[in-house]
Symmetry: C2
Subunit: 236 residues, 2 copies
Amino acid sequence: MDDARSASPRIHGAIAHDIGVEIVGGLRKPGDVFGGEIEASEALGISRTAYREAIRILSAKGLVESRPKAGTRVTARHRWNLLDPDVLAWTFEGEPDPEFILDLFELRSVIEPAAAAFAARRRTQTHIDDMKGALDDMGRLGLAVSEGRAADQRFHRAILAAAGNEALAALASSVGAAVSWTTKYKQRTRALPRDPLPDHIRVYDAIAASDADGAHHAMVQLLHLALADMDLPPRA
Amino acid sequence: MDDARSASPRIHGAIAHDIGVEIVGGLRKPGDVFGGEIEASEALGISRTAYREAIRILSAKGLVESRPKAGTRVTARHRWNLLDPDVLAWTFEGEPDPEFILDLFELRSVIEPAAAAFAARRRTQTHIDDMKGALDDMGRLGLAVSEGRAADQRFHRAILAAAGNEALAALASSVGAAVSWTTKYKQRTRALPRDPLPDHIRVYDAIAASDADGAHHAMVQLLHLALADMDLPPRA
DNA sequence: GGGGCTAAATATGTCTGAGTTATTCATTTC
DNA sequence: GAAATGAATAACTCAGACATATTTAGCCCC
């Protein structure tokens, strides 16, 4: 199912999307200056109002910066909100830099095991039920279909909810979604080679048993194998 | 009332700031509807243009959502980009929820030790020099003065740079800044009780010695003590 | 010759008013 | 009662004018 968010593509949002993709995709490089508002908006066939609102959105995400007289230009990459959900999504619409994918996996392998450990300490029965439900769906549907991948996402989200840390949840849900884009992205090149369900069950069992160390270790294992399945070039 | 940053207070930015603070501060609750553009902008004494651009900024950070006919309303908290640099800054302008501060510290104690471990493996001589410089300034100035705290920030940023992970760096710099707001915030209630420099040196030594486990452990220790210095109410 | 002040050029920022579009809500109809 | 229909409403878009700030160049003075 197509993402419901793009159901009503207001112009400013659509333009922000397009320019955002161009920026994170490297088509517009840091330091590049946009033409004046009048020329830029005319080139896009939209009004100055809509164009300006698009720029405001990009500015809020740290991708561009505008100053009177100086103009609007792409900011240095270290100023970008790389973990902003939209920025991540835009990144994975193009060909993301393998280095960055590795960075994200590395980040995930730091975050999620810790979340699993917290979840083991703080989970309630409701959380366990949610995890179990997601796990069942996953086993029943498999990761080849989108409903199965959605169940996988639900599984991870349930763990985050159980971890009881809002900041952790906000972060991991963005990164997790991005990684799932990656998976979808990689899926063209090779079929899914391995059934990840047993790994998930190990995580589930440890959390259900309130075994924090076990949950941590099982999640490390799960992510390690997930990364191996992507056959990325090894890091320098 | 005038702080240094508002030297160039474009109206839309100032309004986004004000409304943002109201939202994260709980003055406007999720589900609350804003008056129509004309009424809201008139109430603020600004034009619809400036008001709309402010709303666009807040929308880009997930704080509000506007739809034709339905109006503009504050979104559910789980949709907020809690780790957005601006959102974090706005949060700490008011009285942040102690629970959330704990969440952030917990997140930091997951992120930074991992970053330190990566740094121990990947650091170059340049990184070590930067860390050493920040450390020296810190020891010379102390954390009581703002230049000393800036040096502390530089120390942590140098570690992140050495870790060689963009995503990690983007995240930790936001969180680190926020935590430093917290420190400043807490400073009124009690004087800084302990000299944190020895802890920093242990982290530095381990990274310089390429001792990843040691760096991880030393950083855990550093953050643990930093948290203890804040005498927050213990978590439920 | 160089440093600092002044002024013009220019791109963003702001304002106003009109018109468009989409979504909600009440009504009607089957 | 559920589905189709229409009116009300709020955000959305457009267009043009004016204000503001910052850069750049030129000028004067030291």
